[in-house]
């Protein structure tokens, strides 16, 4: 995919803005945390275990892919005859920077199903041989293995290209490791584990990208789209839904929870009334209703959206919102209880005796002391929301069907699993990518929980 950097038009999606803002604020937050020695000691505990390092590197690489996939642009179309040369028309398909890295992987379309790394189609078709006789056989794929002169070279080529792909990945990985090594010469963290993970990820990615441009590593779906490409593009959806929905939920839960616990009285009554009402409505029902209404709004107002992806993005943002709004009750309840307890502690009473203002008491005495709950909930909810997206897409109220997501892939795989012979690769592709992310997020959140939960800390002290 060759493009001229000056002939593109950037497309700024709402979710892109939010995720980049999030990255900036998260880095600022981390810089701030560095100044608190206690928090630093706790994070040190998380990262001093090999498991913590490995899972963190995996999560980080997912996030990096999602971020690279969040820089969108439209390419300029080549001028057609009779066109005014001063105006430029842009393609209707939106690309991201990740697409550049993936090369032609997303553009190699077949006619229908094909198995992973196969040269032939999965279904037989009627064809006519050289002598004009019709016969029925598996046709060759248009793109996969098109670089081969002779299909007999298939096996040797597979090995050779695998080695090349992994070699490329290894070189990139080694460069990254050298940089890491140079910047962390004097520290006691298990950097070895981190480097090993980086090397493994770099090799796997190198292999996937290199092979993905020559073959269909994970096969193709019914419409002939590359399953590997769809899985990789699904990373952005998964990571974004995990972070954005939690991010929308957090401010609601934190403000309401702390206010209810701190001021008590009628504030508490109102907040409790809100969350008991909300949690007595079935979540799925609320989400389905909200999403369908939102879809109606999008369909009635096509003027707001320039390209199809913007529509899908608006629906995605709506989904994040409604997921956030339906899931704050749990954290709110936890924070309310904890605040009730903390605001009766002598140090808060002492602050009152010093005439410290309410806002200052909340921000300096209460918020820092419930931070561990917020953090633990954030990491735990992250993986839960990724899974929720898959479930919602499966029942048809998730992200837009044009948007690449693991939920959509699983939804399509529903019918594929019931046919014979089974088409398994679409499901496996989505499953593998989702499983790795959710597993590392869960393992990481366990470690965070161990380090930050005061109860665990007490037990360790005994």
């Amino acid at each position: 995919m060759d493009i001229d950097i000056f002939s593109v038009k950037p497309v700024i999606l709402w979710t892109d803005i939010m995720i980049w803002l999030l990255v900036i604020s998260a880095s600022a937050f981390l810089l701030m945390l560095r100044q608190n020695p206690e928090a630093r000691a706790q994070w040190r505990q998380v990262f001093s275990s090999r498991l913590g390092m490995v899972t963190f590197v995996i999560i980080l690489s997912y996030i990096a892919l999602a971020l690279v996939d969040s820089l969108h642009f439209r390419k300029a179309l080549p001028p057609v005859e009779g066109q005014n040369s001063s105006t430029v028309y842009y393609s209707n398909t939106v690309h991201s920077v990740l697409d550049l890295a993936l090369g032609e992987m997303g553009e190699l379309k077949e006619r229908s199903y094909s198995a992973p790394l196969s040269l032939k189609s999965f279904t037989k078709e009627n064809m006519i041989d050289a002598s004009g006789e019709p016969y029925r056989d598996y046709p060759d794929l248009q793109h996969a293995g098109s670089h081969l002169n002779d299909p007999a070279d298939y096996n040797t080529d597979l090995l050779l290209q695998s080695a090349t792909g992994m070699g490329k990945g290894l070189i990139v990985g080694l460069i990254l490791c050298t940089l890491l090594k140079m910047s962390t010469r004097r520290s006691t963290f298990p950097w070895g584990a981190a480097m090993a993970t980086i090397l493994v990820i770099a090799m796997v990615l190198g292999w996937l990208i290199h092979m993905g441009n020559l073959y269909h590593v994970l096969g193709t779906d019914r419409a002939g789209n590359d399953a590997l490409y769809a899985s990789i593009k699904g990373i952005r959806t998964g990571v974004l839904i995990g972070t954005l929905a939690t991010l929308i939920m957090m401010p609601i839960a934190i403000t309401l929870g702390i206010f209810a616990g701190y001021f008590r009285g009628w504030v508490d009554d109102v907040v409790q009334y809100l969350y008991t009402t909300l949690s007595s409505i079935p979540g799925i029902l609320l989400i389905a209703a909200a999403i369908l209404q939102f879809q109606v709004f999008i369909d009635l107002n096509p003027g707001y959206f320039e390209v199809g992806l913007e529509k899908a993005d608006a629906r995605f943002l709506g989904l994040c919102f409604i997921l956030g709004i339906t899931s704050w009750a749990g954290l709110c309840r936890l924070l309310r209880a904890e605040t009730l307890k903390i605001s009766q502690l002598p140090y808060v009473q002492a602050a009152h005796a010093f005439g410290v203002s309410h806002i200052r008491v909340i921000s300096r005495h209460i918020l820092p002391n419930v931070m561990h709950i917020i953090l633990i909930t954030f990491v735990l909810d992250f993986s839960g929301l990724i899974l929720a997206e898959a479930v919602l897409s499966y029942i048809g109220v998730g992200v837009d069907s044009t948007m690449p997501s693991w939920g959509n892939m699983i939804n399509l795989a529903r019918s594929e699993l019931s046919q014979d012979p089974v088409v398994w690769w679409n499901l496996i592709g989505a499953f593998f990518f989702m499983f790795t992310l959710v597993l590392s997020a869960n393992l990481f959140s366990d470690l965070v929980n161990d380090a930050f939960n005061p109860k665990n800390r007490q037990e360790r002290a005994v």
Binding site: L345, Y347, A353, G355
Partner: protein, 549 residues
């Protein structure tokens, strides 16, 4: 009761120890060098109370847990033996141990409420042990439970058998715990700080009960305590524990008459002197800094769906008191009498039901949050629990300077830091401590930081809400001394809220005795303590354990 007669027969062997601990050594796992206990040896004999005394962290509780093999996983028994009826308990199987624990050797703990199951009737809970360890039928078991409750002095045991733990007072709960421990007729009773959470009057009753039971049942009692007064009152023999070692062991009388070790002498000397009183005027000559008139604080009790107020809890019910400049008024009473609520009302943290609080000529209970601000720097507070009175996420510097910032003393950050350093020196801490976090300090040090925090804004009155009750005896004496020093140097007044009569003589100029939200007696310390008029004051004074003869 035929059990008693059989006990009598074994009395001739009473001088032989029931249980002896020999060279018990316990270390922390993975640190074989860190010994928590070092060669601890002692004997428990029939009908004798053996007291193990020491400050917190000296290894008293570890000793009792190690004897019963109930240590947490982090600790490890390195060496030693516990001989009970000619068997070494450390060689017994876990199954044999279960037969010993609870059955032959019973334990009671400090917190009676948390040791009892809140959702079971007390009768059922005692019944449980009886059913496990005896073959009595239902009727006999109930009879036995009533007998036991009677023995531990619980009134109306026939009806109380169906009560739940929360319906009983703290002392009654501890009695139920003792009844449970006695249910299986044990030979040894281990009591781990059984009265620390109780008020003085109830403490006396419980200790008398334990002492009486040791006599009547020929029990061997191991009493673990940090309170020398309790030891003096209850024990026949004493072992002083210091850093995991028993440094001195003697009969109680001999020990108090002639302590051998320097540390033991310090422990006894740290007990407040009851005959040395603060010189005080009669209290009226001083110009009052704070005066409280007919203060009432009532909390509503709500009931029903509509939360209608159907009654009031009269926490403070019409008290009047006054404190002069540079004077200390001790407000004494048992838990729940409204002392702390009075303190909170003076700090304007609780809303008054009626009454008037005047500070330096200004009525403060009607002031708004904002108008109160200038007065906040003149009235400060020190809390009971040194572990929760400071935000664990702030450095000492931030904690101490918080008041200076919020009360707008108008100092630059450098001046504030200088002041913090001066204050830390004033309370005998190092200036370098300002960059540390509260959890790095011991209880006594934390209480000093609390004092420094209160002093930071130059207050004229400090409300001290039980500032020493969570501290060990020796640290308690140091903190009290510091408070007195500060009073002499800075002329601050104290409202000293406490349940502990023993510390009052050397500290307070005047005393007000409080009961059920009312002040029953007030006057100069010497007068109130030497010639108490009200029967409640007399009862309180009698209950205070005295270490001196």
């Amino acid at each position: 009761m035929n059990r008693n007669s059989s006990k009598k027969q074994t009395q001739k062997s009473a001088q032989a120890p029931v249980l002896s601990v020999r060279n018990l050594t316990v270390c922390v796992n993975n640190h074989q060098q860190t010994h928590i206990l070092k060669k601890v040896s002692f004997d428990l004999k029939h009908g004798e109370v053996f007291a193990l005394v020491g400050e917190s962290g000296s290894g008293k509780s570890v000793t009792s847990l190690a004897m019963m093999r109930l240590l947490s996983d982090a600790l490890h028994i390195l060496d030693g033996e516990v001989i009970f009826e000619n068997n070494d308990l450390f060689c017994a199987t876990e199954q044999e141990m279960t037969a010993v624990r609870g059955n032959r050797v019973a334990m009671i703990f400090q917190e009676a409420l948390t040791s009892l199951n809140p959702v079971q009737k007390i009768g059922t809970q005692i019944d449980e042990t009886l059913r496990l360890h005896s073959d009595l039928n239902n009727k006999d078991r109930i009879k036995r439970i009533i007998e036991l409750l009677e023995e531990v002095g619980l009134p109306n045991p026939e009806t109380r058998i169906d009560w739940y733990p929360h319906q009983l007072s703290g002392g009654q709960q501890q009695r139920v715990m003792i009844a449970m421990a006695l249910a299986c007729e044990p030979d040894v009773l281990i009591a781990d700080e059984p009265t620390t959470a109780l008020d003085v009057t109830i403490q006396k009753q419980v200790l008398d009960l334990i002492r009486g039971l040791a006599q009547s049942r020929q029990l061997a009692v191991l009493l673990i305590t940090h309170d020398m007064g309790v030891v003096r009152q209850t024990a026949q023999r004493v072992g002083v524990m210091y850093q995991g070692e028993i440094i001195e062991e003697n009969s109680c009388e001999e020990f108090f008459r002639n302590p051998q070790k320097k540390y033991s002498r310090r422990l006894i000397a740290s007990l407040p002197d009851h005959n040395h009183f603060q010189n005080s005027s009669d209290g009226t000559a001083l110009e009052p800094l704070l005066s409280v008139e007919n203060l009432k604080v009532h909390f509503p009790q709500r009931k029903g769906i509509l939360q209608r107020i159907h009654d009031w809890t009269r926490a403070v019910d019409g008290i009047s008191l006054s404190i002069g400049r540079g004077e200390t008024l001790a407000l004494v009473g048992e838990s729940g009498c409204g002392k702390t609520t009075t303190g909170r009302a003076i700090l304007n943290l609780d809303r008054l039901t009626s009454g008037r609080i005047t500070f330096a000529g200004e009525t403060i209970n009607t002031l708004s949050h904002r108008a109160m601000q200038p007065l906040r720097r003149r009235i400060q507070v020190i809390f009971q629990d040194p572990y929760s009175s400071m935000n664990p996420r702030m450095t000492v510097l931030r904690i101490i300077e918080e008041g200076m910032i919020s009360l707008k003393l108008g100092l630059t950050p450098e001046q504030r830091e200088e002041r913090v350093i001066a204050l830390l020196k004033r309370v005998h801490l190092e200036p370098e401590h300002r960059h540390r976090y509260p959890h790095e300090f011991s209880g006594g040090q934390r209480q000093r930081i609390s004092i420094a925090r209160a002093l930071a804004v130059n207050p004229e009155l400090i409300v001290c809400d039980e500032p020493t009750s969570a501290l060990d005896v020796s640290t308690r004496a140091e903190v009290l001394k510091l408070l007195q020093e500060l009073q002499q140097d800075l002329g601050v007044s104290y409202l000293f809220i406490t349940h502990d009569l023993s510390i009052i003589p050397q500290l307070a100029h005047r005393v007000a005795v409080m009961k059920d939200g009312k002040i029953v007696e007030t006057g100069a310390t010497k007068k109130v303590l030497k010639e108490p008029h009200h029967s409640y004051t007399q009862e309180l004074l009698n209950a205070v354990p005295h270490a001196r003869i």
